[in-house]
């Protein structure tokens, strides 16, 4: 039970197919009948939403409709979580219990990994900011150091940089400032998306 509309342009068809590939991927853990029903409901929604759009081409109508409907992962996952937990608690079937546990574990692990990545990012940002300030105070001890007579490359603040040669010089400061700003903006945006997804 599925519906494929006739579009007047190829771009719209591609957008439609890509969107429903994502819908299919998001619904893998629910039974086929339920999956087809939900897909048909979403397809009907998009087609009707397209009719309400004021633009001309099918592709812009479809993009507007998708924009209003939202990402499939965002609205399908809560339904799967609810269903798996309900099945597990209602049926006492070990398979359902395991699937429910696995789904929740996977979601928790994903959140934990993302939190760790963002946390490490902020720590790295803090290190770069400290390096940038220290470069102004003790310039010869801060930067990227190459070994003069063998050994390993060092980045950061060295107490005795003697056997090494610092290669960035005062460029460490502008590069440090740019990296700090870019990282701060990027990480904070990522954090905002992360928080929004959890709401």
């Amino acid at each position: 039970m599925s519906y494929v509309p006739k579009f007047n342009d190829d771009v719209a068809r591609k957008i439609w197919n890509n969107y429903f590939k994502r819908v299919d991927r998001s619904m893998r853990s629910i039974p086929k009948t339920k999956r087809e029903e939900l897909k048909l409901e979403i397809q009907g929604h998009l087609l009707e939403s397209m009719e309400d759009a004021s633009t001309d081409s099918d592709s812009s109508k479809l993009m507007d409709a998708i924009d209003r409907l939202g990402e499939p992962e965002d609205y399908i996952k809560p339904m799967i979580a609810d269903k798996l937990l309900l099945d597990a608690s209602k049926t006492f079937n070990p398979r359902n219990v395991l699937m429910g546990l696995f789904f929740n574990l996977r979601t928790s692990i994903r959140r934990a990994v993302l939190t760790m990545i963002i946390g490490l990012g902020y720590f790295f940002l803090f290190c770069i900011a400290v390096m940038t300030i220290m470069k102004i105070i003790i310039p010869s001890h801060v930067g990227i150091f190459l070994p003069e007579y063998g050994g390993s490359t060092a980045v950061g603040i060295l107490v005795s940089p003697e056997p090494h040669r610092e290669i960035l010089g005062f460029w460490t400061v502008p590069i440090g400032v740019v990296c700090t700003v870019l990282l701060y903006t990027g990480l904070t945006r990522l954090l905002r998306v992360f928080i929004k997804q959890g709401e």
């Binding site: 029903e37 929604h45 087609l47 499939p72 339904m79 609810d82």
Partner: protein
């Protein structure tokens, strides 16, 4: 965060929190399909919500047996899934209405007290 932003977030959270109640109120009048319900919700409540969020909500109400659904074939195009309030849903709605009236009276008393 500015006062306006705080207000709009509070306003949006308040309206979203009432969605179950509003949906049941609509379904009490007649059967609706998903997109039709969203159109009505947007018109009445002015909620900034991603349209997809209605489906997990309807799904949950259905699991709680407060609403049921039925596919209806259309003359043209995709069949529509209509949602209908159940007897259990009507009873839950009565309880919700009582709670709502109690909250409104209590808040009005507080707002009136200076």
């Amino acid at each position: 965060m500015s006062i306006m932003k705080k207000k709009s977030k509070w306003d949006s959270q308040l309206r979203k929190g009432l969605l179950d109640f509003i949906i049941l109120l609509y379904l009490q009048k007649k059967d609706f399909y998903g997109y039709e319900l969203i159109r009505e919700l947007k018109r009445l409540t002015d909620i900034e919500l991603s349209e997809g969020t209605i489906y997990p909500l309807l799904n949950r109400l259905k699991k709680e047996d407060l609403i049921s659904s039925k596919w209806v074939e259309m003359e043209t195009g995709v069949p529509r899934k209509y949602y209908r309030i159940t007897e259990k849903g009507r009873n839950a709605l009565k309880d919700m209405q009582i709670s709502w009236e109690q909250i409104v009276i209590a808040i009005q008393k507080l707002v009136g007290t200076k």
